[in-house]
Symmetry: C2
Subunit: 210 residues, 2 copies
Amino acid sequence: MNNNGILVVISGFSGAGKGTLVKKLLADYDNYALSISMTTRKSREGEEDGVHYFFVDHEKFEKTIAEDGLLEYASYCGNYYGTPKAYVEEMISKGKDVILEIEVQGALQIKKKYPNSLLLFVTPPSAQNLYDRLKGRNTETEEQINKRISRAVEEADWIEKYDFLVINDTLDECVKNLNDMITAAHYSPDRQQELIHKLKEDLDLISKGE
Amino acid sequence: MNNNGILVVISGFSGAGKGTLVKKLLADYDNYALSISMTTRKSREGEEDGVHYFFVDHEKFEKTIAEDGLLEYASYCGNYYGTPKAYVEEMISKGKDVILEIEVQGALQIKKKYPNSLLLFVTPPSAQNLYDRLKGRNTETEEQINKRISRAVEEADWIEKYDFLVINDTLDECVKNLNDMITAAHYSPDRQQELIHKLKEDLDLISKGE
């Protein structure tokens, strides 16, 4: 069978608990690698180069774009953010499933370019639960929360483009389901083209008595 | 989320070990129910009505067809074989995933009628392994084995229509993968339409401050 890894793109509503899920997935299972974004923004306190981001200058970022070295990139508030291709491809060829946490537009870009990537959308079990989570953080004004909810309304229109919904109810169960989805995805016919081709070829040879 | 079960259709090469896999799946997990076929052929020694088949006469079978009481049916060698709809629907509404072991043509019929059914194709890891399994049974002539291999050549053309390949290498691992696939399938957007609809509706209400 095909022993390459899968590019796993994880999106979801702000406040759905993506970060915690991904952290636990990486802690619980050893077949995952986390994609690290490249950015031109300055590092904040506590952020490490090569851990939280690859921090580079504009020149280096644009050189990477020119060399087709990014899976996708976007610019926000005058800074570039992108996904370095080399690391992802290296890990995939080593059989690691690479986790890429990215927003909806970027996720759909990736799927278009890499049809065999797996798109997962993280959502709390209900809209009320999402609101309560955002509220419970106690870090944002009502206005900021409303902004996130409005954004969630827009994002919800894209859920159907994703391969699976990750319903973040109980963390442990959710991480297990997340891992099940990724494991299962390895066995889709699209991702087992080599095996199918070889099977057909060899069955044909045997049936002809060769 | 949607708590209905899924109709899981399992096909695969003759000799791939479908029967053993399904038996172990049902023994290891309690969320499955096995669909029992209805047939007009006479029961053989050791076969029990309601366990191996529902044994009925032609009149009863044709009455069931007329009442649209079958998911699919076919006739071989003058006998009818079909899948009673009522049992499958009852189990699915109770949240059980219903396993239906059926050949390729029937499987594709089911998928057309029930797009949310899950199609799984069981194959040994290689063509040689399939040949060795058939040979190792010591129950068939070389001619019969060749017939099965020829049929496998034809069936292999349909693998791409299936949702997942079940590669029967190590039995325990394979049953676990099989269960992972079915678990994961519950979370496809197609099978979570109710949740997605409710999420959108409620997010909309919250964003409007209602």
